[in-house]
Symmetry: D4
Subunit: 249 residues, 8 copies
C-alpha cells in the first residue's frame, strides 16, 4: 500500500506528470503514518526477534486462545504468564502441543524448539522455596528464547555455606538471575562472587515489613555490589527476557 | 539540506538516472532522522505556538542569559520561572525590556505584547497568603500566552463566605485555576459553584502532615466535584499553561 | 415556600402593614437557609447543566433503581458507573430504554440523545488492553454530555510508532483524554505532539511497584509536557466530565 | 483483701505489736499490686463513668455474648461495634432487650436509658451517603452516653449551599462531629462557621488516592480552621466518645 | 450600601412603583455577595470571638508589624507563632507592650488581659524536654484565650511513676493537652487515667523512624483510649485553641 | 564422600604417589563446595542447636507432613507456625504425638520434652486480647526451646494500673517479650520498669492508621527506653526464638 | 517527707488519735504521688543500674555541662551522644577527666572504670566504612556499661569471604551487634553463622532508595535468620545498651 | 602462610608422622579463615577485574588521597565519584596525572588507558539537561572500564521526534543506558525501539511528586518494555559498571 503511494509519486515524476518541487513537497508532507509506519513495523519484528508475552491474569481462557490463534500465524514461540491450572487446561485443549508448567503458572507454545543461540549459560538462583514460582518463570522464559538455563534453588543468605557450595556454577554463568523475597540480600552476595551481570528479582514473599516485596526491591537497588540491576517485584518473565537480551550473540 | 536530498533523488528519477524501484527503496530507507525530523520540527513550532519556559532553579544568571539569547531569535515570548531577585537583576541588565515579578519569582520577556486571543477570562483563585507566589506564576504565564487573567486571592474554605462574595466573578470565568496548600479543599468548593473547568494546583505550604503538598494534591484528586483536574505541587506555570491551552479559540 | 415568605413580607410592605426599615431588617436577617438556598439551587441546575453520576459500587440494584426513579423526573441523562453485569440486568428490567456497556461497566439512560454541542472532537487514547474499561467510561461520559468522541486504543509507549500512525487524529482533537497504567508515560508523549489540553487518567493496571496506580499518577503529574492535567486513578468518568466541561461552547 | 492487710498492719500498730518504723517500712514496701491496684480500680469506674466498648470485628457471636454477660453485671450500658447482621441476630437472641442498628452495625444494650446529662447538643454532620455508617456509629455512641444528638447527613463541600442551609443547627450545637471521606474538606468549612469544638472523622470512602482514608485524615489535620481535632479513620465510636467527654458537665 | 439596595426596593414596593412579584424576583436574584456577605461577616466576629493567629514563619518582621497594626484596630489579643528571637526583637520595638516567649517562639499582644472565662483548668502535659517548645505554644495560646493553664513537663512513659506522681493534677483538669514525640504513647496513658477530653499533639522530636512526627501522630490516632483526639504535628497553637474552644462556658 | 576424597589424597601422599606440592595445590583448589560444605554443615547443627521452624502458610497438609517426616529423622523438636485447624487435624493424623495450639495456630512435635536449660524465666506480656495469638506463638516457641515461660495478657497502656499490679513478675524475668498492636506503647512502659532486655513484637491488630502494624513497629523502634529491640510485625515465633537465644546459658 | 506523712499517720494510730478505719482510708487515699513515688524512685536506680544518656543534638555546650553537673552527683558514668567536636571541646574544659571520641561523636565520663561484669564478649560488626561512627557509638556504650567489647569493621556482604575470615571471633561472642546501611543484609548472614543473639542496627548510609535507612531497617526486620532483633536507624547507643542488658549476669 | 600449614600437614603425612585419619580431621577442621580466605581473595581480583570505586561524598581530600595511594599499588584504574571541585583540586595536586570531570563530579586515574575490550558500543541516552551529570558519570565509568561509549543527551519523551532522529545510533549499540528524571518514561520508549538490553537510571531531578526520583524509579520498573533493568536513583556509576559487565567478551 505505502509502496504503491511511493511508486505512484515516483512514476509521475518519471513521467513528467509531477514536477520535482511538487513531488518533494508531497513526500515531505507524508507523515510518519504513511511512510514511516511500515518502515518501522518491518524493522521492528526483525529487531526485537523475541516472542511477545501474553499476560494471562484477568483474561479468560477464551480470550487467551483468541490471542494465541492470531499471534500463532507469525510467531515461532508464544508465552502466556500467570495462568492458573483450570484456564491452562482449557487452553491446552485447543493447543495440544503447548506445555503448561504448574510451578511457573506459564504456558509455552513453540512451533519448534529454538536453537540455543545464547553466548553462554544463564543461571537462575533463588533464595527460598516460596520464590521458586518466580524463578521458574524466569527459567522458562530464557529457555524459550534460545538459551541454556541452569538453576540453583533454596540458597538463602542465612545459610551462606549452601551458596558457597555452588561457587563454580556461579562462576561459569554468563548472566545470572537472582530471585529473593524477605530482605532480598542474595543478589548482593552472589554479585560479589562473580564478574558477570546479575539481574535481581524481588519477590512479594514474606509478611509485615516485607511490604509486598518493596523491602526486597529497595535492598537490591541499594546493593553494595555494582554488577546488579533490578526488575519489578515478582517479574520472573522480565528477568528472563532481560537476561536473554544480554546473552544475545 | 533534507530538501536537497529529496530534490536530488527526485531529479535523478525525472532524469531517468534512478529507476522507480530503487528510488522507492531509498525513500523508504530514509529514516525519520532525514525527512521526518525537519518535517516534525517545522510542524512543532506551528503546533505548540506557545512560549517555552526556562526553569531557572539551579541555573546561573549567565546560563539563563545564554539560553535567552539563543531562544530570543525565534520566539515572541520568553518565560523564566523560579529565579531569585539577585539572579533576576543580573538577567535584566542584559534584557532591559524584560520584567521581573518579585512575588512570582518570574522573568517575562516579550517582543511585543501578545494580542488577547483567549476565548474567555481565566480566573486564578488562591486560598492563603502563602499560596500567592504560585498563583502569581499561573497568572503571569496565562497572561503572557495571550489571555485576560483575573484573580481573587486569600479566600480559604475556613471562611467560606469570603468566597461566596465573589460568586459572579467565578461564574463569568471560562477557565479557573484554584491554588491551595494545607488540606487543598478550595478547588472542590469552587468547582461545585461553576460548570467551567477548574485546574487545581496544590502548594507545599503548611507543615506536619501537609507532607510537602501531597495532602493537598491527594485531596484535590479525590475531589467530589468532577470538573477538576490537577497539576504537580507548586506548578503555577503548568496550571497557567494548561488553562491557556483550554482557553484557545 | 420561600416564595411565600418573601411574598408575605412584600405584601405587608405594599399594604403599609410593615415599614421599610423593619422589612429591610427581616430580609437581611433571613439566612441563606431561607432565601439563598432556593436561589442557589435554582441557579445550580442551570449552571452545571450536566448529568449527576450515580456511583454504583456498593449500592444494590434496588437502591440504584430508587435513585434513578427520583432523578429521572428532572434530568435528561442519567449515568451509573461501576455496575456489574448482574446488577445492571436488574436495573435494565425497570429502565428498558437504558443501555449497559459491559466494558465500561456503566449504565446510560437518556430521555433523548443530547445534541452534539461540544466545540470540537474529544479523543480518548489508551495504552494497554487492560486500560480499555477506564477509557470506555471516559468515552461514554463525554458522549452522554453532548460531545463527538473518538478513540484510539492500545498505543503504548513501548511501540511508539503505533502512536505516530495516528498523528492526524491527535492533531484534530480539541481535547484529549489519555489513559495509561504501568509507568503512565503516554500522556507526556501525546501532549508533546499537540497543542490542545490533555486530561491524563492513571489506571491501577499493573503489579509490584505500580503501587495500585500511584506510579502512573505521579509520572503523569511530573510530565515534562505542560498541557497536561490529571484526574484520580481509574477515574474515567471524571476525565470524560472534565473534557466535556473544557469542550463546552 | 487489701483492706485486710492494711487493717492488720494498723491494728498491730495500734496494739503496739508493730513499731512505727517497721510499719512505715512495710507500707512503703507494699507495691502498687497490693494497695494501689484496688484503689485505682475502684477509682477508675467512678472516673471514666462511661461504657466500655466491645470491638465486634473478629469475635464470634458466642464470644460477644460471653463478654456481654460478664460486663452486664456491673455496667449500665454496653456497646458492641462492627457487628454484622448475622452475628447481631445471634446476640439478640440472648439479649432480647438490646437493639441492633443496621447502618451503624452496632449493638446497644442499656439497663435503662441514661438521663441526658450533656451540657448541650452534639451535632453529627456527614458529607456523602457512604459516610453514613460511620456517622451513625458516632450518633449512637454519644446518645448512649447521655447526650442529645442531632444529625445532618449528605452535605458535601461540592454543594456548599446545602451546608449553608443548616447554619442555625450548626451554630446551636455545643460539640460537632464532622464525618467525611474523599478529600475530607468538610470539617474545615464547618469549623470556619462555628466557635465550638469540631471532632473530625475521616472515612475510608473513595478510591485511588483516597489511600483508604489517609488523604481525608491528612486533610483534616492540616485544616486551616483551628477548632478541629481528629480521630482515626472510620472511628465513629471514638468521635462519639470524645464528643461526649467534651460535653460532660 | 446593601442597606440602600434593600431600602430602594422596599420603598418602591411601598410606593407601588414595583409590584410584589417583580420585587420578590429581584430579592431572590440578589446573590450572597450583596446581602449575605455583610450579614455573615458581622455574625462571624461575634461567633468566633477568639484571636486570629499570625503564622510568623516565612514572614519578615516588617510584614508581621504591618499585619499586627491592621488587626490591632479591632482585636483584643494578637498571637504570632514561630517567630525567631531576631524578628521578635524588631516587632517588639514597635509593640513595646507585647511579650515574646523564647521557648514557645511566640509573641503575645493583649490590649488588656482577658478575664479567665474557661469552665475549668487546662493542663498541658509533655513527655521530653525537646517537646517543651510545642507545649509552651499550647500554654500561651490557651492562656491568651482566657483560660487558667497549668503544666507538667518531662513525664515520659519510660518512667511511668513520674506521671503517677501528678495524678491529682491530671484528675482536676477539665481539658488536657498531651504533647509527645518519639513513639507518642503518653496521651494513651494519660487518657486512661482521666475521663476528661485529651488533645494529643505529636511532635517531630526524634530521629530515624520517628518519620518527622508521623510515628507519634499515628500512635496517638490508634490510641486504645477513646477520650483522645489529635492535631497536626508540632501544632501547639492548634491544641491550645481547640482546648480553649472545649473549655468555653 | 568428602572424607573419601581427603583420604585418597592423603593416602597418595603417604604412599609417595603424590608429592607434597601437588597435594597442597589440590587441597587449596578444593573449593568450599568440597571440604568446607560438610565442615560447616556439621558445625551448623551443633552451633544453632535449635529447631528449624516450618512456615505453614501456603503449604498443604501433605507438604507439611512430608517436610516433618524428613526433618524428624534428625531433630528433637519440630515447630510448624501459621497452620489453620483443618490442616492441623490432617497433620496430627500422621503425627499423633504432636500438639496443636488453636490460639497460636501452631503445631509442636517433640521427641521428648527438652530439659529447661534457660538461665531464667522468659515473660511474655501482651496488650489486647487480639494480640494473644502472636503472644502465644512466642510462648510456645520459647517453651519448645527449653525455657520456663510465664505470661501476663491484656495489660494495655490505657489502664496502666493493671500493668503495675504485675510488677514483681516483670522484675523477676530474665528476658521479656512484649506484644502490642495499635500504638505499640507497652514495650516502652515495661522496659522503663525493668533492667532486663525487652523484645518488642508489633502486631497488625487495629485499623485505619495502624497501617497493618507499621505504627506499632515504628513506635517500638522510637521507644524512649533503651533496653528494647524489635522483631517483624506479628512475628511471635521470632520473638520467642530471640528470647531463647538471649536466655541461653 | 513521705516518710513523715507515714510516720505521722502511724504515730496517730499508735497514740490512738486516729482509729484504724480512718487510718486505713487515709492510706488507701494516698495516691502514688505520695507513697509510691519515692518507693519506685528508690527501686528504679537499683533496678536500671545503668547510666542515663544525654542526647547532645540540639543542646548547647552550656546546657550539656549543666545537665552533667547535676547528674554527676549520683552517677558513676555519664554518656553524651551526638556531640560535635566544637561543643565537645567546651564540655571537656569543664570535665577534664572526660574523653571525647571523634568517630562516635560521644563524650564518656566515668568516676572510675566500671569492672567488666558482662557474661561474655560483645562483638560489634559493621559493613562499610561509613557505618563506623554508629558502630563506635555501640562499642563505647557497651564498654562504659562494663563489658568486654571487640569489633570487626568493614566486612560487607558483597565480599562475603572477608566475613568468613572472622568466623571464630563471631562464634566466641556472647552477644553480637551488626551495623549496616544500604541493603542491610549483613545481620542475616552473621546470624546464620552463630547461635547467639544479634542486635541489628540499620544506618542511614546510602542514597536514593536507601530511604534514609528505612530499606536497611526493613531488610533486617524481614531477616530469614531468627536470632535477630532490631533497633532504630543510626541508634548505636541503643544497640550497645540492649547488648549490655542481654550480657548482664 | 596457609601454604606452610598445608605443607606442614602434608609433610607430616608423607613422613608418616601424622596418620591419614588425623590429617583428614585437621584439614576438615581448618575453617575458611585458614585455607579459603587466601584462595578466594586471589580468585577475586582475577574474577572482578574492574576498578573499585571510591565514594567521595563525606570524605575529605586527605582521606581520598590516602585511599588512592593505597589502592594505586595494585590497581590499573581508580575512580572517585561525587567529588566537588575544591576537593578535586586538592586530590589532583597529589595525582597530577588524574583527570577531574566537572559535570560528572568524578576523578579518573589510570596507569595507562585500558584497551577497548567491550563487545560493542555502549550508548548513554539522557532526557533533560539536568540529567547530564548522572549520564556523564555513567559514560566515564564505562569508558574507564574499557568500552567505546557514545552519548545522546537531551532527548525527552515530550519531543519524541528528537529521539527518533537518532534511531540508527540506538540500533547500533550493544548495551544502552537511559537516564531520566521526572516521569522516567524514556527507557520504555527507547527499549521499545531496540532488542539490546537497556539499563535505566532514574534521577532525582524534578520537584513535587517526583519524590526525589522515586516516581522515575517506579515508572522504569513498571516499564511495558521487557528488555529493561534498573539501578538506584542517580546511580550513574552503577549503570556504567553494569553495562560494562554486560559488554564483556
Amino acid at each position: 500500500m505505502n509502496k504503491d503511494i511511493l511508486t505512484d509519486i515516483l512514476k509521475a515524476v518519471a513521467d513528467g506528470g509531477l514536477d520535482i518541487d511538487a513531488a518533494r513537497q508531497r513526500l515531505a508532507d507524508m507523515a510518519m503514518e504513511d511512510i514511516d509506519f511500515a518502515h518501522i513495523d518491518h524493522h521492528r519484528s526483525l529487531r526485537k526477534g523475541f516472542p511477545e508475552v501474553i499476560f494471562g491474569e484477568g483474561k479468560s481462557a477464551a480470550q487467551i486462545v483468541g490471542i494465541m490463534e492470531r499471534m500463532q500465524l507469525q510467531e515461532q514461540v508464544l508465552l502466556v504468564t500467570r495462568v492458573d491450572a483450570v484456564k491452562a487446561a482449557a487452553v491446552l485443549e485447543r493447543f495440544a502441543e503447548a506445555r503448561y508448567d504448574t510451578e511457573a503458572r506459564m504456558i509455552v507454545w513453540q512451533r519448534a524448539p529454538l536453537p540455543k543461540t545464547g553466548l553462554g549459560t544463564i543461571l537462575v538462583v533463588s533464595a527460598g522455596t516460596s520464590d521458586i514460582p518466580v524463578a521458574r518463570e524466569a527459567c522458562l522464559t530464557a529457555d524459550a528464547m534460545g538459551n541454556v538455563v541452569k538453576s540453583v534453588f533454596d540458597v538463602g543468605v542465612a545459610g551462606i555455606h549452601r551458596l558457597m557450595a555452588h561457587r563454580s556454577l556461579l562462576e561459569e554463568a554468563r548472566v545470572l538471575i537472582v530471585v529473593a523475597g524477605m530482605e532480598g540480600a542474595l543478589p548482593s552476595v552472589v554479585a560479589g562472587m562473580v564478574s558477570r551481570p546479575v539481574i535481581a528479582v524481588p519477590t512479594s514473599v514474606g509478611y509485615g515489613v516485607n511490604l509486598g516485596g518493596l523491602t526486597a526491591l529497595f535492598g537490591m537497588l541499594t546493593s553494595c555490589s555494582s554488577n546488579v540491576a533490578v526488575v519489578n517485584i515478582d517479574n520472573g518473565f522480565g528477568a528472563g527476557y532481560m537476561a536473554a537480551s544480554i546473552n544475545q550473540p
